[in-house]
């Protein structure tokens, strides 16, 4: 795709340094993209696997730009079928997840989890988040729920195919659960339309024998409000009606708080309701909150004027870019 300068742009073209055309190339193979950036054929790489980051950081001709991202990665937990319908099992899953290892494996491109919505949308506030990696505590909780060496909790994770970060999170959880000796996780990968169909079909039967217990999902800010993260995902009215509360979380208190937040026109009051709802969701261990994705771009050193925009998709404001 080729973007060309529009002479009538209201901002004007005062600087001679403005780019007059920007060519966007889809390069699916990560190593090709990396080679082309390192050789200077590309000025910027917008989407690349995190494994390429150390090489970019060491390269004196390349700069890495990081910024606040607003996309939250969850491994959503099935609230309507055992074993994850038991709150103790959901908490155990949260304690069995080694978040530090995940952040290391993804080269620091995720911020530690602060619950279902980024702090930015809650007035720069995070809930009390008790879940740190603690396999002993996870084991204790699983034992409390009736699972142990003789009767392991058998879990199935349904992930979107070719999504390495989801895969890494699930594998790290798999190891954490194995360390408890009381649970085991099977990881499956599927195409997106297949996952959606499975979810809508499962809602009709809710058969525990065919349940998937974890569902990999990114949630972006479709509207600039905590509503985007909370209502569709955690309100009981969203079960079945939309495809986001697919794991059937339902808590009347949360419903009430989310409805009141949605109805409120006062910002402070709205945020207060969202905060209360968020704390309940975290305490319920409704999901495994993996982290908030940091936005990372790699640019040639001579490209100036770039800033990271926190929007969902990789976004580049071309106008201020120039070469030095």
């Amino acid at each position: 795709m080729l973007l060309r300068k529009f002479d009538g742009y209201w901002g004007g073209w005062r600087q001679a340094k403005h780019f007059t055309a920007v060519n966007m190339l889809i390069i699916p193979e990560a190593s090709t993209q990396r080679l082309m950036l390192e050789k200077g054929e590309l000025d910027m790489a917008m989407k690349f696997p995190t494994e390429a980051l150390p090489a970019f950081q060491k390269n004196p001709d390349v700069q890495v730009a990081r910024g606040q991202g607003l996309r939250v990665l969850y491994l959503r937990l099935q609230n309507a079928a055992p074993p994850t319908s038991d709150g103790r099992v959901r908490q155990a899953i949260n304690y069995a997840f080694d978040g530090a290892s995940f952040r290391k494996a993804t080269e620091g491109t995720y911020d530690p989890p602060t619950g279902p919505a980024p702090a930015l949308f809650l007035g720069d506030w995070s809930p009390k988040f008790p879940y740190t990696y603690d396999p002993a505590k996870a084991k204790m909780l699983l034992q409390g729920a009736g699972y142990g060496e003789g009767r392991k909790a058998k879990l199935i994770a349904d992930l979107l195919i070719a999504t390495p970060d989801q895969r890494k999170a699930a594998e790290i959880l798999q190891a954490g659960l194995a360390a408890t000796g009381a649970a085991e996780l099977e990881i499956r990968e599927n195409e997106w339309p297949v996952m959606l169909k499975y979810n809508s079909e499962w809602q009709k039967t809710r058969d525990p024998a065919t349940a998937h217990h974890l569902f990999g999902l990114f949630t972006p800010p479709r509207v600039p409000d905590a509503y985007a993260y909370l209502w569709y995902t955690y309100h009981s009215k969203a079960i079945g009606a939309f495809a986001r509360n697919v794991m059937n979380y339902a808590n009347p208190k949360v419903d009430d708080l989310l409805d009141r937040a949605a109805a409120s026109t006062r910002s402070a009051e709205k945020i207060a309701f969202y905060r209360q709802a968020t704390q309940i969701i975290v305490d319920d261990a409704a999901d495994l909150f993996v982290g908030t994705q940091t936005k990372v771009y790699a640019l040639r050193k001579h490209i100036k004027g770039f800033y990271v925009h926190p929007l969902w998709f990789p976004t580049v404001t071309v106008y201020p870019l120039h070469r030095e």
């Binding site: 080729l2 060519n23 190339l25 889809i26 390069i27 699916p28 193979e29 190593s31 090709t32 080679l35 082309m36 390192e38 050789k39 054929e41 590309l42 195919i161 070719a162 195409e191 997106w192 339309p193 297949v194 959606l196 169909k197 499975y198 809508s200 079909e201 479709r222 569709y232 079945g240 009606a241 939309f242 495809a243 986001r244």
Partner: protein, 337 residues
């Protein structure tokens, strides 16, 4: 000949119909929800149902199939469920890119493969033969993906001789032209600089794509030629004093080429339909990559269009291969007439 062509065309229509029926059936055996995938998770069930109605996905399968075949007969390949683009428009961009990649690969594979095979058979047991066999085995065993990346490392990163990907440099404008094949369109426009650039961008993908075929053709040519060189009529040709070159090229090679042509026809079909890996490594926007993304989203119009394309390509190649038999072997020509 006319009867032969008519029969083959009818057979081709049946094959396309059968392939489409299989794709339709499979798309409904795999439980998936492309309408929901296209609209996103926050779309309400009513919106998804409406979209499904709009696309006709709620109609009985047989009716969807009949409607699709009817549209296809009018040259309408439908609209991508995911992108909303007309599939025929997408193909208009993707097919020329694949053709531009595959045609030179065919020529390279055929010429080098036959030369290597002939050299190997004629100088059997000598250094050339050993070298040819090593090259063939390597060519067949090297994973395409790995080989492409190694070529990029050597010729792009270290030597800086050739580009790593794309059809043209990022700063170059694609030529306006009737074919969509950049080398041809640039040539028609008289822009020799652009022809050279398009050619440079072809070199590494063509080497990557043709390597397996070179190896296959070389192996088959060698085996077939060795078999033919031991036949009585070759011995007779030698006995009557014909030179070795004339014996090999005029008498033996032509007969030895029949199995080569058969295998090569299949290889070309694979190249035309399945250059996915090469297109992915070299950021080549061809049909393989297009079909791959369509499959990832189970986008039925895209997948069906790809199946039609591959079936037609295979059928056309088979016809060409059959026709070439009668050219290569007069006995077949005689039997056909």
């Amino acid at each position: 000949m006319l009867r032969f062509l008519l029969r083959r065309t009818l057979f081709l229509a049946l094959v396309v119909l059968g392939a489409l029926a299989v794709v339709f059936a499979m798309a409904h055996v795999i439980p998936s929800d492309p309408a929901r995938a296209a609209l996103g998770q926050d779309a309400s069930q009513e919106q998804v149902d409406e979209y499904r109605r709009k696309l006709g996905l709620d109609d009985p399968l047989w009716w969807q199939f009949v409607r699709y075949v009817g549209r296809l007969a009018r040259g309408d390949l439908g609209v991508s469920i995911v992108t909303g683009n007309r599939v025929v428009d997408d193909l208009r961009d993707a097919v020329p890119a694949t053709v531009e990649l595959v045609l030179p690969s065919i020529v390279v594979a055929l010429v080098l493969g036959i030369l290597l095979g002939v050299a190997s058979a004629v100088w059997r047991g000598r250094a050339v033969d050993h070298l040819s066999r090593v090259v063939s085995i390597l060519g067949m065993s090297l994973p395409v993906f790995w080989f492409g990346l190694v070529l990029q490392l050597v010729f792009y990163k270290h030597l800086s001789w050739l580009p790593a990907g794309g059809r043209l440099p990022l700063t170059a404008m694609p030529p306006e032209g009737p074919t969509g094949i950049y080398t041809v369109d640039a040539l028609v426009a008289g822009d020799l600089g652009l022809v050279l650039e398009a050619f440079r961008h072809l070199v590494l993908p063509v080497i990557t794509l043709s390597t397996v075929s070179i190896a296959t053709v070389a192996r088959i040519t060698r085996a077939s030629l060795l078999d033919v060189l031991g036949r009585d009529y070759v011995r007779t040709a030698r006995a009557k004093g014909l030179g070795e070159r004339a014996t090999v090229y005029k008498h033996a090679l032509r007969n030895a080429l029949i199995p080569v042509v058969t295998i090569f026809g299949l290889r070309v079909g694979i190249m035309l339909g399945g250059a996915v890996l090469t297109e992915t490594i070299f950021a080549w926007p061809g049909i393989g990559r297009y079909a791959f993304y369509g499959l990832r989203q189970l986008d039925l119009p895209v997948v069906s269009a790809f199946v039609v394309y591959v079936t037609l390509a295979y059928a056309a190649l088979n016809m060409l291969v059959d026709a070439s038999y009668s050219f290569l072997d007069p006995r077949i020509r005689g039997a056909a007439s």
